[in-house]
């Protein structure tokens, strides 16, 4: 299968002040696949995820070195507009965080500030399409003016996914999106990820190995800030090459 690389990272290091959180990580993110980052708590998988859309910029003491490219462009170059980068590389967080506005406004906010809709009806169409792609349209189509925070946890997370989709990103980063959800909501999100695969490059951080096994095609195992192993999901979970990977996934850790 030919690889279409969407994002590449070479020799990435991340420092918080004097403390090094990520050491020399190089990884390629494929455009058509779901890539999972797994590893124990504090291994740096979330930190590395946040370097991909420069969310670490919001932390004053964070320093990122190395070469990270989106479609070949260095995202840390001075010419790269961070605001546009974040529209091209969207993010969904662990705890659902819809804006305290109506459902419609939540989804419409992104296209509005980037000027992606040419008219009101176009904007309404974008909102409908995003909610449909996120699998939420049928449940909320009659109450778009209700507050986004009045939805259940699983619905709120799908709303956040719809919000991310609305700006038509190229990559969607998900930071433990199902941690706060019950199994049924989790299953719906996993099915949604499966449907979104191919249209967007998806990177998902999860501490649930079974979820990584179900949802991804490539898996990267992080440990203490380094990338230990990166390969096809079925290989990692049936026959990993590294002993540390094997120890982690068989539950021999610690």
């Amino acid at each position: 299968m030919t690889q279409h690389l969407k994002m590449t990272a070479h020799n990435v290091n991340v420092f918080y002040g004097k403390k090094q959180a990520i050491s020399d990580v190089s990884i390629d993110i494929d455009q058509d696949l779901v890539t999972a980052f797994i590893g124990p708590s504090g291994c740096g998988k979330s930190t590395f995820l946040r370097t991909l859309n420069r969310m670490n910029d919001t932390v004053a003491s964070a320093k990122v070195t190395g070469d990270i490219r989106l479609d070949g462009e260095d995202i840390y170059a001075p010419e790269m507009d961070v605001v546009q980068l974040r529209a091209r590389v969207g993010m969904v967080f662990q705890k659902p965080n819809p804006f305290p506005k109506s459902i419609f406004e939540n989804v419409a906010y992104g296209p509005r500030i980037h000027g992606l809709a040419s008219s009101k009806s176009h904007l309404a169409g974008i909102v409908e399409q995003s909610l449909k792609r996120a699998g939420l349209w049928e449940e909320v189509k009659d109450r778009l003016q209700d507050s986004g925070t009045a939805l259940s946890g699983g619905q709120q997370q799908r709303l956040c996914i719809a919000r991310a989709i609305a700006v038509d990103p190229e990559v969607i980063l998900m930071d433990e999106p199902c941690s706060a959800l019950d199994p049924i909501a989790t299953a719906k999100i996993e099915e949604l990820i499966h449907e979104l695969k191919g249209r967007y490059a998806i990177v998902i951080v999860t501490h649930n190995m079974q979820q990584a096994a179900r949802v991804s095609q490539r898996t990267a195992f992080f440990h203490l800030g380094t990338l230990i192993e990166y390969g096809a999901t079925s290989d990692i979970f049936t026959n990993p090459r590294e002993e540390r990977t094997r120890d982690y996934i068989t539950g021999r850790y610690g």
């Binding site: 859309n53 969310m55 919001t58 004053a60 605001v83 546009q84 980068l85 974040r86 529209a87 969207g90 993010m91 969904v92 967080f93 705890k95 965080n97 819809p98 804006f99 305290p100 506005k101 906010y109 992104g110 500030i113 980037h114 507050s147 925070t149 956040c160 919000r163 991310a164 700006v167």
Partner: protein, 421 residues
């Protein structure tokens, strides 16, 4: 090894010792509840005491005693052409008509030699107003209700000298004494005669000053709070600024008065006693309060909302104005209410910048000399005349109503902007 040897006997939850503990715990809870209730009752008591005293003293000021004065216009000797009253030169015509003398004459005719002392010095204004309203009066006799003199007014309310009270009784028996709503209190400015005095001048001055204060303190305070919370780096300089602002909020208000005197009056040569100077001085005083409340309100906005906005591609300015500010607005408005309420009641700094003069007419522009409600109350309380005692309390009531109205508006705004989470 010791830890392993601790032997736990099963706890007797129903034993006497435990029962004592339970009783003691319940007693402590009861005591605490009673203490809290007592504190609330005490506070409410103070408030009730304050309000009832003010109302008892001041409600009378909203009424005034009037005398029904019979005026025989054709024989009053007015040099006035009824036809001119219809046109634009009416006021000029009235000015030269000698109404004052005619009024005094009517009073003497009705009540005897000292009749003109029974009516207020400004009684002729009531006659003038009646004539202007209905020029047909000039051709016949009419009875016009004019304000009574100060001594009569006081006596009618039960505080006067025995002689005055006797006069009041006589007038009452004659059926010429009435009590009416003192509209002029709310529409007239300061005066030396308590019966003619009004609060409108001071009220207008307060309104102008408050507007200036709000227009300056609110934007500067909110923008400062936004900058300090969202953009400023965390270093020694910003810490210093934060400490300075916190201290500013605690500075005694009279020092701001001195500052205003030195800077606005002496250096910038702004007009003395003007609302704009008062507003500037009070703005300096109110701004730190708004900054502190604003910073706390902004800090309370959860970072998850900021992250969500950033992740969708909002610029820092958009994050602040679309997300942070609307959520912080209730807290900011609360701080503004507190600051403005304090500013409304401030006397000392405004005395320093000269807003203590006797202002006979309400200010027209921001640069006109003016006074404010608290200062007016202070000045009236200094007056010797008995009539001003009541008026002082009445002015306090007006001040409280103004304060309530301001708070009401702010609370309404806060509730409107309060987003349900």
């Amino acid at each position: 090894m010791n830890k392993a040897q601790i032997h736990r006997i099963p706890t007797d939850w129903r034993g006497a010792a435990m029962q004592r503990r339970i009783r003691g715990r319940y007693a402590a809870e009861r005591r605490f509840r009673l203490l809290g209730l007592a504190a609330v009752v005490l506070s409410a008591g103070f408030l009730v005491f304050l309000l009832s005293t003010m109302l008892a003293n001041g409600l009378g000021g909203f009424t005034r005693t009037e005398i029904r004065l019979p005026v025989d216009f054709p024989r009053a000797g007015l040099t006035l052409d009824p036809a001119r009253l219809a046109g634009p030169g009416a006021d000029l015509a009235l000015a030269g008509a000698g109404i004052e003398g005619a009024t005094d004459g009517a009073a003497t005719a009705a009540f005897g030699k000292d009749g003109d002392k029974l009516i207020s010095d400004g009684a002729w204004l009531a006659v003038r107003a009646a004539v202007k309203a209905d020029p047909a009066l000039l051709r016949r006799r009419a009875t016009i209700a004019v304000p009574a003199a100060d001594a009569i007014d006081i006596a009618a309310k039960g505080h006067g000298s025995p002689a005055a009270e006797a006069t009041v009784a006589r007038l009452k028996a004659a059926g010429v004494l009435t009590t009416g709503f003192n509209l002029s209190f709310l529409s007239e400015a300061d005066s030396t005669d308590p019966t003619m005095v009004g609060i409108w001048g001071a009220l207008k001055g307060s309104i102008f000053t408050m507007i200036v204060t709000l227009l300056l303190a609110f934007p500067i305070g909110v923008l400062s709070a936004l900058y300090l919370e969202e953009y400023a780096p965390r270093n020694r300089w910003t810490d210093l600024i934060e400490v300075s602002i916190n201290n500013l909020a605690a500075v005694p208000s009279i020092i701001f008065g001195l500052l205003g005197l030195a800077v606005f009056l002496n250096t910038f040569h702004l007009p003395r006693s003007a609302s704009i100077v008062g507003g500037l001085t009070l703005a300096l005083m109110t701004m730190p309060v708004i900054v502190i409340a604003g910073r706390n309100a902004i800090k309370a906005v959860p970072p998850s909302i900021r992250d969500a906005a950033l992740a969708v591609g909002a610029s820092p300015v958009q994050v602040v104005f679309h997300h942070v500010l609307p959520l912080a607005l209730p807290g900011i408005l609360t701080g503004t209410i507190i600051g403005m309420a304090r500013a409304l009641g401030e006397t000392a700094p405004l005395l320093m910048i000269g807003m203590r003069a006797f202002i006979a007419s309400p200010p027209e522009r921001l640069t006109d000399p003016a006074t404010v409600l608290p200062v007016q109350i202070f000045l009236w309380s200094d007056q010797v005349n008995r009539g001003f005692v009541e008026k002082t309390s009445t002015a306090i009531i007006v001040l409280l109503v103004f304060l309530l109205a301001m708070n009401g508006v702010a609370i309404y705004l806060r509730n409107r902007f309060e987003t349900r989470w």
